[in-house]
């Protein structure tokens, strides 16, 4: 039976270091299997977050050989020879071992002005497949937060967390802005308060997305273009004046619909 050395970071806010575990590796196993075996034998207190072990819940994100990956979807046999390093997501504060405090993402979720639809007709809304398809791509998101983790805007610049929603929430804003029923207009909100301008479209979010959502091309760039319409483009501004259209200011957009 093959053996592998897992170099797992262990520690908490007071510090930590790598510990090596040499352990058997069976056919078809993923990183999470091996971590579980370490837990069940050598280190029952090794902290790692997981739920479905099927790539559907997005709980077990960590950095494997330095790259954000889902532990449950990374097969051991696809990794290069030699020790496998497993570290917690870097962008979020450490709780313990491989578990991080991802509350930043929940704070950003609370700031999303929810869908603002017209009242629903008795027999439900009518929407067409072509209208819902763009949003459906973004709703595949399993909230593993690896896009947030890899995004250098907050990974390497802690202070930006105050005014930057991050890729996971840009796809949420894109979904809402492309929603055929939505009556809000979050373009100024996204620009002013959610920090869309901080994104320099280096596409790492798209690279790490386990759901293969084209975050940059299909959400962030279209959002940036919508912000250009709302804020930067003089011709669009003139068009609004002539057609007596208005846009919502950030403050107008940034309210939750009444329940």
């Amino acid at each position: 039976m093959a053996e592998v050395t897992m170099r797992v970071w262990r520690g908490d806010a007071s510090g930590g270091n790598f510990e090596d575990y040499t352990i058997a590796q069976n056919e078809g196993e993923v990183v999470l299997d091996v971590i579980h075996r370490i837990q069940a034998t050598e280190a029952p207190d090794l902290a790692c977050r997981w739920n479905c072990k099927a790539g559907k819940c997005g709980s077990c994100a960590a950095e494997i050989n330095g790259k954000p990956r889902l532990m449950c979807m990374t097969r051991m046999d696809e990794l290069p020879e030699g020790p496998v390093t497993v570290t917690p997501m870097k962008t979020f504060p450490i709780i313990r071992d491989l578990v991080t405090d991802v509350s930043f993402n929940f704070a950003m979720a609370e700031r999303v002005p929810a869908l603002l639809p017209p009242p629903m007709p008795e027999d439900g809304y009518r929407m067409f497949q072509e209208d819902v398809e763009r949003g459906q791509e973004f709703r595949k998101c399993i909230e593993c937060f690896m896009c947030q983790d890899v995004c250098h805007v907050i990974r390497d610049h802690e202070e930006n967390k105050q005014y930057y929603a991050g890729p996971r929430f840009f796809i949420r804003y894109a979904e809402l802005e492309m929603h055929p029923l939505d009556q809000n207009d979050r373009r100024e909100y996204v620009r002013e308060d959610m920090g869309l301008g901080y994104c320099n479209i280096t596409k790492c979010c798209t690279e790490v997305c386990p759901e293969h959502i084209k975050i940059t091309d299909n959400a962030i760039i279209p959002l940036k273009e919508r912000v250009v319409d709302a804020h930067y483009d003089p011709v669009a501004w003139l068009g609004r004046k002539i057609r007596r259209r208005t846009k919502r200011t950030s403050a107008e957009a940034g309210v939750q619909p009444t329940p």
Binding site: N51, K53, K56, M120
Partner: protein, 605 residues
């Protein structure tokens, strides 16, 4: 009230569990203007609801205009082998269309029909195309929609906070719960005027399961300890199609949608064996030949349904029999083939996550190769006995909805009925709990003694030196339950399980936990094991006493359903509330169905 020595919160409605049912209940109570706290073992949005793939059943008639609640009711009752709480099945069939539609107000985006309505797909046991869906990730859509709604309403959510025990007032009404924060290991108490259990299932007590670590039956066990009754605990659904290889993902779910979209089951001889396993009850509406079954996929009026779409218990038993007869695959399953029957493009569009799951985990391209599948522990039909209209348990102030509640699905659940169950009864639990709070019948105190004993029990493994590793106990328990109370059961094995479970009880009392309290998975498992044992005991006792085969309960020594056993549920109670206390199992008569509903069941038989 005594000041809590721990972090303390007070709510009108406390909800335990943040899956579909818990979140839907929260929305209802929140809309009433009550204060609501949701406690979940995991992060918000990770609950087992995300694993539901195929869709949510609701007789909207968008695809088959003949469909209506009566047919849905009939399908549910027949699928449940008539052991259901008929009133729950009735409410569910009547209300699920509204519950599905309202999700779109909150942002859900279901797949559409050509005329812009919600698209519905075929599924096992459902007479008409009835499952509203989004590709094969409907559960994710449901939980995300509810989660976003709950968050936008400003609800307090306690994440990675595990409830250990419910707390009463002096008169036995529910008064709250005691929990601990997984990140820090610190305890926290919740005083609440009402509590809604929405804690999901029990599947982690079996070795091959589609359930995550969370499904340890906490809610079932806590309800029992708190004085509620559990019913139908022997009725466990083994989903016919779980992955069997690689071993590390054995049990992982393969959606029924594969069969709904044209996939067929074959044994190692290449035979579509399901035609040999059509029970009399379903013969009239099942195709007799492969050609007829294939015609049905094209046009439902041109043939009858293929037998691959029989209810899950029927299909799981058939697969089990084929493997036992030596016609299984190299890894001990059978083949599920869609690659030779549908185009690659169709498969990737309709079943994207299945495509990726097999590609990435097994290296199998399902557009070209057959999948190897076998039954996997998936769902418990049984659960806390509740009043159908209010989701109220026997204990004042305690409600239960979703998988933790029993009765709705009888002896076997139809695919797609679970997601709609969550929202129908989640809402009803939210409504009833709110009524209870507003009616002023809430608790008059908080039993701190219960808190202290729960805390002491949780901390005991740290005091104990040289005891057992909880992981060893869990592994042994899973193997024992799989072997003795698995998909096919027999009296002697069940008796063995019951006596083994007593040994496990002693082992659990002798657990030692290494390390500190902060995010310690070993400790967390130690706090899960009492629940796992409690539900396993109920399942085994129910399995022992139900001397017949019905739905998710199959006895080798009693292979037929018996009319006598079809008239009652088996109800479990525990005396005194101790987790290792004596369990009493009694017959509890089914509700009597009104004549007009009985008439519905006779139709189209």
């Amino acid at each position: 009230m005594t000041t809590s020595p721990y972090e303390h919160h007070e709510y009108d409605v406390l909800i335990i569990g943040a899956g579909g049912a818990g979140l839907r209940a929260a929305i209802e109570a929140k809309q009433r203007g009550l204060s609501v706290g949701i406690v979940t073992k995991s992060l918000l949005g990770k609950a087992h609801t995300v694993m539901a793939e195929g869709g949510m059943a609701a007789a909207m008639g968008n695809v088959s205009s003949e469909d209506n609640w009566q047919v849905h009711f009939r399908d549910t009752m027949r699928g449940g082998k008539m052991l259901n709480n008929y009133r729950m099945a009735e409410l569910h069939a009547k209300e699920s269309p509204d519950r599905v539609r309202e999700l779109e107000q909150w942002g859900a985006l279901f797949d559409r029909t050509k005329d812009g309505k919600i698209l519905q797909r075929d599924f096992g046991g459902h007479r008409y195309a009835r499952l509203a869906h989004v590709g094969d990730r409907t559960g994710l859509e449901l939980i995300r929609t509810l989660q976003q709604k709950v968050v936008s309403m400003g609800t307090d959510v306690f994440m990675e906070c595990k409830v250990l025990q419910l707390v009463h007032d002096e008169s036995g009404r529910i008064a709250g719960a005691v929990a601990y924060w997984r990140p820090t290991g610190e305890f926290v108490t919740f005083a609440a005027k009402s509590v809604i259990l929405a804690s999901g299932g029990v599947g982690k007590s079996w070795k091959f399961t589609s359930n995550s670590w969370e499904s340890t039956g906490d809610g079932h066990a806590m309800a029992l300890w708190a004085g509620a009754e559990l019913i139908d605990m022997e009725c466990i659904q083994f989903h016919p199609t779980g992955m069997v290889w690689p071993l590390s993902v054995r049990g992982l779910l393969v959606t029924e949608g594969v069969r709904g979209d044209g996939g067929v089951l074959r044994n190692s001889d290449g035979e579509r064996f399901m035609f040999n396993y059509v029970a009399d009850m379903f013969r009239a509406e099942t195709a007799e030949s492969e050609e007829e079954g294939d015609r049905w996929y094209e046009d439902h009026s041109a043939g009858r349904r293929p037998p691959e779409l029989l209810p899950r218990d029927e299909v799981a038993r058939a697969i089990n029999a084929e493997v036992k007869a030596g016609r299984g695959t190299p890894h001990g399953g059978v083949y599920l083939d869609i690659g030779t029957r549908r185009s690659a493009e169709y498969i990737r569009r309709r079943l994207p996550s299945m495509y990726h799951q097999f590609m990435e985990l097994a290296g199998v391209d399902i557009t070209r190769e057959a999948m190897e599948i076998g039954p996997t522990c998936h769902y418990i039909m049984g659960g806390v006995k509740v009043d159908a209209d209010t989701a109220a348990t026997k204990v004042a102030g305690l409600y239960a909805a979703g998988e933790v509640a029993g009765g709705m699905h009888g002896a076997n659940r139809l695919g797609g009925n679970s997601l709609s169950d969550l929202v129908v009864f989640g809402r009803r639990a939210g409504l009833a709990a709110s009524d209870y709070v507003e009616g002023g019948a809430g608790p008059s105190g908080f039993n701190w003694g219960e808190v202290e004993s729960a805390v002491a029990r949780a901390l005991a493994p740290f005091e104990n030196e040289g005891g057992e590793n909880p992981y060893d106990i869990q592994r042994d328990l899973q193997e024992m339950m799989q072997a003795n109370v698995g998909i096919i059961r027999t009296g002697s094995e069940i008796d063995l399980a019951i006596s083994e479970l007593e040994t496990f009880t002693e082992r659990v009392k002798n657990i030692s936990v290494k390390g500190g309290r902060a995010y310690n998975p070993g400790w967390n498992l130690a706090t899960d094991l009492p629940s796992m044992l409690t539900v396993s005991k109920c399942t085994s006792r129910g399995a022992r006493d139900r001397k017949e085969s019905r739905g998710g309960h199959t006895r080798e020594d009693f292979p037929k359903a018996s009319a006598e056993f079809g008239t009652f549920n088996l109800a479990h109670t525990i005396a005194g509330g101790a987790w290792d206390g004596e369990i009493t199992t009694e017959r509890s008569a089914l509700l009597t169905m009104p004549d007009e509903l009985k008439a519905l069941l006779e139709e189209g038989k």
